[in-house]
């Protein structure tokens, strides 16, 4: 990894999130356009972030038991009643 690659490594999430100052973003894009390893790395990071955004643990979500839902409904109704003038 050359110096330029090293210098952009810490900025890549900011770049993907469009959270970099314009000057820094332009410098980073200029480097990436001329650096095949960085193109591949940024692509893999971008896809990794996309996968991460769709992440859900393997465990199925348990349905709420009717009595639990009833308890929530009662708490909700008490809250609503208490805020009425």
């Amino acid at each position: 990894m050359n110096r330029d690659c090293s210098s952009i490594f810490a900025l890549l999430s900011g770049y993907l999130d469009r959270d970099l100052p314009p000057v820094e973003c332009a410098e980073l894009e200029q480097h990436i356009q001329s650096c095949a390893p960085c193109v591949a790395f940024v692509d893999s990071l971008k896809k990794s972030v996309q996968l991460g955004k769709g992440y859900a643990p393997a465990s199925d979500v348990p349905a709420l038991a009717p009595e639990t839902k009833q308890k929530l409904q009662e708490a909700y109704q008490r809250m609503l009643a208490a805020r009425k003038p």
């Binding site: 990894m1 690659c5 090293s6 490594f9 810490a10 890549l12 999430s13 900011g14 959270d19 390893p37 591949a40 790395f41 692509d43 893999s44 990071l45 896809k47 990794s48 972030v49 996309q50 996968l51 991460g52 955004k53 769709g54 992440y55 859900a56 643990p57 393997a58 465990s59 979500v61 348990p62 709420l64 639990t68 839902k69 308890k71 929530l72 409904q73 708490a75 909700y76 008490r78 809250m79 609503l80 208490a82 805020r83």
Partner: protein, 197 residues
Amino acid sequence: MNPSGDTQLARDLLNGSPEAFDHFVEAYNAKLFRYSYAMCHQREDAEEVAQETLLKVFQNLDQLQDPERLKPWIFRIAKNACLMKRRKSVFAPKEELSLDELRPFKDGEQRLQIADWGPLPDRAAQDSELRLALDSAVADLPDLYRAVFLLRDVEQLSTEDAAEILGISNDAVKTRLHRARLALRQQLDEHLRGATV
């Protein structure tokens, strides 16, 4: 559910809408269970955290000053419930991720070793091994990195909201999110190099 959808949901709940109650319970039971399971690693604890959080939300919803703050408010309650379950703080990371360890090149290496990411993420839905690899990679993240990843990337809360929920600075959220993403990328890359995608 997008942020404006959550804001409207909060308004509807405060107006006593029965449809909003059903929608909210279904959507947030799933969100809270997934978040808590990823943080607590115990199915029973996650189920309890989700239910306790929903109960606190309904008991205290009238204290929510700004309907736009519904989601961060709920996740702050959930984070505290997770802490109570685990009896330890996600504020104090036991393990840090080093940026150097996450670089694709190590000193002395000349070529980038990287998997073929071409078919992703489109094939991810059909690739159960990849989903397991992602599950394992998320579980391997140190607690605070995993907390930041779940709030920012999975729940798509803002940097500011994640910082407020976790009690850390915006810069710390950005730094930890970047390193969490790099760590996930690294583990997925290793998985892809060992598998035919």
